[in-house]
Amino acid sequence: MKRIIIPEEREALFDLVEGEEILLSGRCYTIRDSACKRLVADNSLPFEMKNEMLYFAGPSPARPGEIIGSCGPTTSSRMEPFFEFFLSKGVSGMIGKGPLSKEAISILAKYKAVYFVGIGGVAAYLSQFIKASTIIAYPELGTEAIHRLILKDLPLYTK
């Protein structure tokens, strides 16, 4: 099983085969419906997206003293209308759950970006692989705020 650290070892993301399991470490940003809509409507970037990874997720609140609550992937296909925008800003890839449409897959291919699926419905388990979490934009959106996460060995599968 390959271990990859992003963004430092991002080149390794592009050498994976379909259905491969990897352990991902490093930096990524959570984003989901409301934040996607906001970002595109404002056409402003609350963080530099070039070479970064997006994680479609909306965590539950952290208990006092904890890094984060439960955090697992949400349905990626809902974010498809925003793919072209993200990828045109240089995003390396996305993490979510569930299949993508043919159109979304071809947009990913056009920008040479990658897509990983995480296991859905096991967010208490998956939150163990999150070592830091900071809200960096849209705190008023609650769970839908953009969080910068630091991962350590998050299990993912290529699609």
């Binding site: 909306g58 955090c71 949400t74 699926v117 296991i119 859905g120 096991v122 163990q128 609650g142």
Partner: protein, 277 residues
Amino acid sequence: MREIDVSLITEKIALLVQEVNYSLPKDILSAIRSTKESETNERAKGILSILIENSRIAREKQIPICQDTGLCLFFVELGEDVRVEGLYPAINSGVRKGYTEGYLRMSMAKSPLFRENTKDNTPAIIHTEIVSGDSLKIQLLIRGGGSENMSLLKMLGPTEKEEAITEAVLAHTREKACFVCPPLFIGIGIGGDSGKAVLLSKKAVLRGLVRNANERIAILEESLLEKVNQLGIGPAGLGGRTTALAVNIEEYPTHIGLFPIAITLSCCATRYGQIEV
């Protein structure tokens, strides 16, 4: 007339929403354990172990098994000899209290069009049935967005038979299971009008791992489960035999010209529970 103090209901609901979110129901956990034995795909076996591990971690740390702690769907059975003043506000207060104190995710938007989070996970969706007697039973089903988005309502023809149900269930599951976090708990409602069928499909999930008392329906449930588990979708959609843990059907009389069918695809984090007052 038996009088019930609503503050008791609020307290019990606040505890219920937390308990239900912090671990899988016992019957579902044991279904995962036993299906793991018969699973031949190694990756699928591994994911089934993670489901069990996830529930253990969540219970221990008192954090939700799934970050989507859902909308709260309640089915109330209110005895006609019970007097309770302000039942709905009491249930909503319980949801507010439980979600806030339990560090659960707030996932309700004020309007489908204009959005904006209500920030306390209310309002809940509450359906009430008046029954005889002086008891009050409240059942809770947590519905996450990912799985609720894959709900189906279809109007079959009144002369169709079991095969039409099988065809609808297999086609829908094949197309949508991967979006829902399998292994699934498939609830099916047949009969009534369109709205009744949808409600029945949710009540079917609440029945848990018990076969329908009607033998003909029970046989159909068994056969559907077997066929769904031949689709090869598997846990997390990554292949394997375990695509569903259960298929439950609820039925209701219908119009001579109707045959509605509704399908609720509940996920591997199916969460339900109940209180009795």
